[in-house]
Symmetry: C2
Subunit: 132 residues, 2 copies
């Protein structure tokens, strides 16, 4: 269950952010099914060798962003209805975050085609899981 979560303690991106990314990637790859349960904050923290509050922070944000639900009974569960679909606000925010990346790529002489094909490579990583 926790097997696919890998953290880099040397990275400058915060642990709770890495944890969020790993869980979101797990959902995208269909390694965690919709409605499936996730480990408790204490057990996941123990398995990963980190603090309970670090896991809790990641869970709270994932809940806030609609990826998971937290029932008092069932515990932590991947949102069975799927994640809130992309809307105009999401597109606008995504554009803001991608612009600096593309500006740098342009400066480094990277072609639009190369950038797009790199995007397509990453999409392929997630499409494999669709067949499961």
């Amino acid at each position: 269950m926790v097997v696919f979560i890998e953290l880099d303690f040397e990275s400058k991106t915060p642990i709770y952010t890495q944890l969020k990314h790993e869980i979101i990637a797990g959902i995208a790859r269909n390694e965690i099914a919709l409605g499936e349960g996730l480990p408790s904050v204490r057990s996941l923290a123990a398995d990963l060798g980190i603090n309970l509050h670090t896991v809790n922070k990641a869970y709270q944000q994932l809940k806030q962003e609609g990826f998971i639900l937290i029932h008092r009974q069932k515990g932590v569960v991947v949102n069975p209805d799927g994640v809130t679909p992309a809307d105009e606000t999401y597109y606008a925010d995504l554009k803001e975050t991608l612009r600096p990346s593309i500006a740098e790529a342009v400066c480094r002489g990277m072609s639009e085609e190369d950038y797009v094909s790199l995007i397509q490579d990453i999409f392929k990583e997630f499409k494999k899981g669709e067949k499961k």
Copy 2:
């Protein structure tokens, strides 16, 4: 000169990072020509209403990443030879940073085509400048 630099003091992205992004975007849009001079750390800091060290931090990183040169005589100058072109390391790092963004997009039901067309929209922002 400084006219196109806009900072958001409410943003959670650090000021020196925003400043780097603005300058890189300026280069990508050909609003700053290769070899052209940039304001001194003190004058830019005064114009933007921020501290000299914040500007210096941005300049140092831009220098480190090959976007600008700093001569003791000529002051700060956009690298006349252009920026260090994209290599395999750059592609690998770019992939790492884009993966979480794409994973979330997949979860939100965004199609590969929609994502790519958003990328193409951003590229168009920079291509306009090519005609200058």
